[in-house]
């Protein structure tokens, strides 16, 4: 019943290379989010989108960009990957109002 899928699930990349992570939803939700989870930090917001082509920065946006050309897809790009961007990345969707966010299964990214 996955209304939200992330791809790839795992990726290893080299320092300095660009990387794009994809989040795809089938719920037609307006809001989409990218978070990263690191030990000792919990979940931190990278970027979010409140509609097609409408995005804004979160708490830890440096080194990341996003794009949303369709309601169902939200892409996260690491412009030039660094070892500090080794993390687990979660996408989330929300329909607005007092509803909990639904999270994807995550992408484990390792930058070597």
């Amino acid at each position: 019943d996955a209304g939200i899928t992330q791809s790839p699930r795992h990726k290893v990349t080299e320092t300095g290379t660009p990387v794009t992570l994809r989040c795809h939803q089938t719920e037609n939700h307006r809001y989409m989010y990218w978070y990263r989870q690191d030990p000792g930090h919990g979940l931190r917001l990278i970027h979010y989108s409140y509609g097609v082509k409408d995005t804004d920065k979160g708490e830890v946006s440096d080194g990341y960009s996003v794009s949303r050309s369709k309601t169902e897809d939200f892409l996260l790009t690491l412009e030039s990957a660094t070892s500090s961007q080794t993390s687990v990345y979660f996408c989330a969707i929300a329909g607005g109002g007092n509803y909990g966010y639904t999270f994807g299964s995550g992408t484990r990214l390792t930058v070597v």
């Binding site: 809001y31 989010y33 978070y35 000792g40 930090h41 919990g42 979940l43 931190r44 917001l45 979010y48 409140y50 804004d56 979160g58 979660f90 929300a94 607005g96 109002g97 007092n98 909990g100 966010y101 639904t102 999270f103 994807g104 299964s105 995550g106």
Partner: protein
């Protein structure tokens, strides 16, 4: 500065007893609070929430209490079961903008239920 704090990185409770997970916040603009549960290699899943206009919300074995004056909330799990072993995240939403600008999470508490 951390706006949502979970000061216990881990908590061990015997099966059948009550588990109490605590969360403190500093931003008085938060108007909605949520608890998420996370198993290894999975995304967080929504557990229970509470609006700032309430002081208690109950759903089966799970109850969340909110003390707005103390900026403190707690999650009670009664009775605790082995499947409750997971990391629990406290999260908060700002009221302005309809909460569109994301949730702020604590660092999480790893709950371990002992048989």
């Amino acid at each position: 500065d951390q706006q949502v704090k979970q000061n216990s990185p881990s908590l061990s409770v015997q099966e059948g007893r009550i588990s109490i997970l605590n969360c403190d916040y500093t931003n008085s603009m938060f108007d909605y609070f949520l608890w998420y549960k996370k198993y290894p290699a999975e995304g967080p899943t929504f557990l229970i929430s509470i609006s700032s206009i309430k002081d208690k919300n109950e759903d089966g074995r799970f109850t969340v209490f909110l003390n707005k004056s103390a900026k403190h909330l707690s999650l009670h799990i009664v009775p605790s079961q082995p499947g409750d072993s997971a990391v629990y995240f406290c999260a908060a939403r700002r009221g302005s903008g309809g909460g569109a600008d994301g949730l702020t999470f604590g660092k999480g508490t790893h709950l371990i239920i002992q048989p």
